[in-house]
């Protein structure tokens, strides 16, 4: 058997699996989305129908807020952890990256334990203020949940980028008389630019598509994945669910591709 034949045989199972269980189904999804009474207009309904549009705007705003907050938090903590050596640093880093493997539903439960009816915040405010504050099932709770799963991903990317920074640049800046604030503003943060772009893309795309957390928490908040789920199961509006899924998949894919080409790195969302 020739080498080329063997290599082709090696690729065959992968090509078959991907074709049968990914490419074909996704094509079918796109077709079903356009096969309702309104045809291709199901796709424009995502933007034109007020209810869908409101949900889309909601989801984009929530994802954007999550991304912005995550980047700020992860930049501060990531720079700090990578720049200082102190006892307990390894444990602290492990704690910050540990939730990486939590499914979205578990993240939702974590927020219930923090801010739910029997949660920590409610318990503490009940004792201090005499009134329990419960916000797990509101948009603030959902935001907290999205932060919870975004922070570990982004911190890892930023720490890796900080490690690769050239310390000579900072020393040069300091030698030229720049204070710590100026060094951060003019040297460190610009050098981390590509890492910020890449991790923003990951955080945003993940937040747009997050289903598990929303499923556990969002009893009365409309976010896109919940809308798709309810259209499919409760309203049996399969055409619209398919069109919305295709839209969501496209948005997530475009954002990750943009992030990848702008940062020059490999970007992937998961979970």
């Amino acid at each position: 058997m020739s080498r080329a034949t063997f290599l082709r045989l090696c690729l065959l199972p992968l090509a078959a699996v991907v074709m049968a269980f990914f490419v074909l189904p996704m094509a079918r999804l796109a077709i079903v989305g356009a096969s309702g009474e309104t045809g291709l207009r199901a796709y424009s309904a995502i933007l034109l129908e007020p209810r869908y549009r409101a949900t889309l705007i909601n989801t984009v705003l929530l994802a954007a807020a999550t991304t912005a907050a995550t980047i700020v938090i992860a930049a501060i903590a990531g720079l700090f952890l990578q720049r200082h050596r102190f006892p307990g640093r390894a444990v602290l880093t492990a704690m910050l990256t540990f939730p990486l493997a939590f499914p979205g539903v578990v993240v939702g439960f974590m927020i219930i334990l923090l801010a739910g009816r029997q949660g920590l915040v409610g318990d503490m405010t009940g004792r201090l203020l005499g009134e329990k504050i419960v916000f797990a099932y509101s948009i603030q709770g959902l935001f907290l949940g999205y932060l919870y799963f975004s922070i570990p991903r982004v911190i890892l990317t930023i720490m890796a980028a900080v490690e690769k920074l050239d310390p000579a640049l900072e020393e040069a800046a300091r030698a030229l008389g720049a204070g710590p604030w100026a060094v951060h503003r003019d040297v460190i943060l610009p050098a981390l630019g590509p890492a910020f772009v890449a991790s923003s893309a990951i955080a945003f795309a993940t937040a747009m598509g997050a289903f598990g957390t929303a499923f556990t928490l969002a009893t009365n908040i409309d976010v896109l994945p919940m809308l798709i789920y309810t259209e499919f199961t409760l309203s049996a509006n399969i055409t619209m669910a398919a069109a919305l899924s295709v839209g969501l998949g496209l948005v997530a894919w475009v954002i990750l591709a943009l992030g990848r080409s702008l940062s020059g790195g490999v970007v992937a969302a998961a979970g």
Binding site: R8, C10, L29, L79, F80, P103, A268, A270
Partner: protein, 265 residues
């Protein structure tokens, strides 16, 4: 003085972020073994909730383990040869294929699950069996295995190894078995840990693909969060943590070893 203040401020901030992530996980483990969480740990510790979880959900735990192992086997059999071929062949076709198999990382699981349902939902026996869930898990985890193996193959000079084995007269299958696979082992191991961890925790696809008779652990978790008392939900989450924490630690150790073995750049 100012430096120390900045250090203290940053440390405090980082500790707060860590607390936000760790305190709820700790609370859930605590609640899982507390007799009455509302009354606090003063009510005493108990294993009754864990036992109750075992009675109610043992089946979901076993099914999740089965699916994770099956997913691993499929991703190894399909992914490792493919990673080798993609690494060796290069060219446009290989790049396109690599791009296509990484797409499931970008597209939300909900969309993939819906696509699978619309395409194969009519095949009743298949749709009702755990193999339907396995399909979803394979699509979702395959890129992780392929990329982990490709990363290792790219770091070592596989082409030279492969060609010298060929010049010694080894056929392609023997070279693959005796040269490529042993050299790719760290990548296969890293990929395997990722695949198992992801499969055990997969919810977005599984929730859409499962039937009442094919519930997995995360599906059961969602169930218990919605309908069980907090202690039972917590005990169930505790069981999940106990299953994935060793995997996470193994991954961390593997990454550190790989980092130590590589010459620093």
């Amino acid at each position: 003085m100012r430096e120390r203040l900045i250090f203290a401020g940053q440390l405090l901030f980082t500790l707060l972020v860590a607390a936000f992530l760790i305190v709820p996980a700790f609370l859930s483990m605590l609640a899982g073994v507390t007799a009455n969480y509302f009354r606090g740990i003063a009510s005493g510790f108990t294993l009754q909730w864990v036992i109750q979880v075992w009675d109610l959900y043992a089946e979901t735990i076993a099914r999740s383990l089965l699916i994770a192992v099956a997913t691993l086997v499929v991703t190894i059999v399909v992914g490792v040869p493919a990673a080798y071929a993609l690494n060796t062949r290069g060219g446009r076709l290989a790049r396109v294929l690599e791009e296509v198999i990484t797409l499931p990382l970008a597209i939300p699981g909900l969309a993939i699950a819906l696509a699978l349902l619309l395409t194969y939902g009519a095949f009743g026996d298949y749709r009702r069996s755990w193999l339907f869930i396995l399909t979803g898990h394979v699509v979702f985890t395959l890129p992780f295995m392929v990329r982990a193996v490709m990363a290792v193959l790219a770091a070592i000079d596989v082409k030279t190894l492969d060609e010298s084995a060929a010049s010694l007269g080894a056929g392609p299958w023997r070279r693959f078995r005796d040269v490529i696979v042993p050299n790719a082992r760290p990548g296969i191991l890293a990929g395997a840990l990722t695949v198992i961890t992801l499969s055990l925790g997969e919810f977005n696809l599984t929730w859409m693909l499962h039937t009442p008779l094919t519930k997995t652990l995360p599906v059961g978790l969602a169930d218990s969060y919605a309908s069980m008392r907090l202690e039972v939900a917590s005990a169930y989450t505790l069981v999940f943590f106990v299953m994935i924490i060793p995997l996470l630690i193994a991954m961390q150790l593997l990454a550190e070893n790989a980092g130590a073995g590589r010459p620093s750049s």
